[in-house]
């Protein structure tokens, strides 16, 4: 059985709920790569995670400023590689400091640095669906996590139950 989890979101609110379930298994030190086209729902997903981990301030896109920090029990760093071309840009602004440490790291456009960094806990990919404009397919790909991880099984079940 593949460990990849694929769920279909009906829209923005549903994506937030899915993110909330995902947030439960995140641990300090986890780095998550969020991948998908413009408007596919990466920032909405981050908002869902951050809310469910207890931060209730504004969560906005970090594209321009490149990094946001949310002060939750485990600090969350929300980075955005949209404006970066490659890992060289990533390193030149000192972002590798974020990759080590006990924070939760949510990196939009993480694929930009994937040749340099292979320490992701998860890659989460977002796809548009042909049939309607609001729904999205979200693919959770565990990396560096043992195959029979019980948490993954529980998460898969919780996401299915959500429907």
């Amino acid at each position: 059985m593949s460990n990849t989890i694929i769920v279909k979101s009906r829209g923005i609110e549903h994506t937030g709920e899915i993110a909330g379930i995902f947030a439960e298994i995140l641990k300090p030190g986890d780095a998550i790569s969020l991948e998908g086209e413009l408007g596919a729902g990466k920032t909405v997903f981050v908002k869902g995670i951050v809310r469910s981990l207890g931060y209730h301030g504004h969560v906005t896109s970090p594209t321009f400023i490149l990094a946001h920090e949310y002060k939750t029990e485990t600090p969350i760093f929300h980075l955005d590689c949209f404006r970066l071309r490659n890992e060289k840009d990533f390193l030149s602004i000192g972002f590798d400091d974020y990759l080590s440490g006990n924070n939760i790291l949510l990196v939009e456009w993480g694929n930009v640095i994937s040749e340099y960094f292979d320490g992701w806990a998860w890659k989460v990919k977002f796809y548009f669906n042909q049939e309607d404009d609001n729904s999205r397919t979200i693919e959770f790909i565990p990396c560096n996590i043992p195959i029979d991880n019980e948490e993954i099984v529980r998460m898969r079940q919780a996401m299915i139950n959500l429907k």
Partner: protein, 339 residues
Amino acid sequence: MIVLGIETSCDETAAAILQDGAVLSSIVSTHWLHSKYGGVVPELASRAHLNLLPMIITQALDESEIDFDKIDAVAVTKGPGLIGALLVGISIAKAIAYAKNIPLIGVNHLEGHLWSAALEGNPPRPPFLALLVSGGHTLLVGVQAFGQYELIGQTRDDAAGEAFDKVAVLCGLGYPGGAEVEKLAAFGNMKYHQFPVSMRGQAGFDFSFSGLKTAVSNFIRRTPDALDNHRNDLLVCFQHAAIESLVHPTCRAFDEGDYNGLVLSGGVAANNQLRQRLSGEIEKRDGTFHSPEPNMCTDNATMIAWVGWQRLLNGERDDLSLCGRPDLPLTEILEKGRR
């Protein structure tokens, strides 16, 4: 009093010299300026600031014809911004303040924008409303007096300038292409398509641009000839929806408050359609409309030096423990001055 202002919060390295609030020089170097020519490496944030700032300060001194020893104080952006970028400006500001034994003052970048029209011939008279629209911020602020600010509305997702830049990418214009959108939209047909105007008819004064961006993306995916045959039409329709999404909450806030006028600042304020639309609405309401010259709308050190000067006149100053604050809110200033 002669104040040296330093700004390094994001993509611009800037220095300015002000004498009693009058601009003697203002130098800005934009890292992304070269990106559209392709191939030129846009050196990012901290490293670029570190390379550029000493040169930019020297240039500001040269142009002002002020001797380095004549500087009375240093004002520097302390946040919000990218921490590495902020630290370059702050470190150099501290070094100058320490070496010359002159006052140091940290300035909130957003407060700088609020007052960027203060140096114009016809400055705004408080209380006024300020709409700050840039790549990183979309804020509506009530300005009662210097230091007395009320955050009235802000974006819930993407900044207005970010929406322009990302739609430019969706339309194949490259990044950052926000300014290009207006140029091409001038040739478009507004009747091509109607994109949603966010927050229209809703209570409150917040903004939202993520839905509009996604609507453009959906439309392009579903309309095979949209980019090839209707790019300019698409751009003008997007621009219209984006501008209306800014105008409606702004006018509602203006109507509900007691303001003399509106200040429009930030990079997106360079958009002439937005200026015209807002100035028309505000003048209809007997308010004065202020939008500084484009080079004062975008990030610059003049506004930092000006706010620093005001704060120094109020007897404020920072010591050498001044730190960069990436998430420094405008509301921190607000709390001090809340009515």
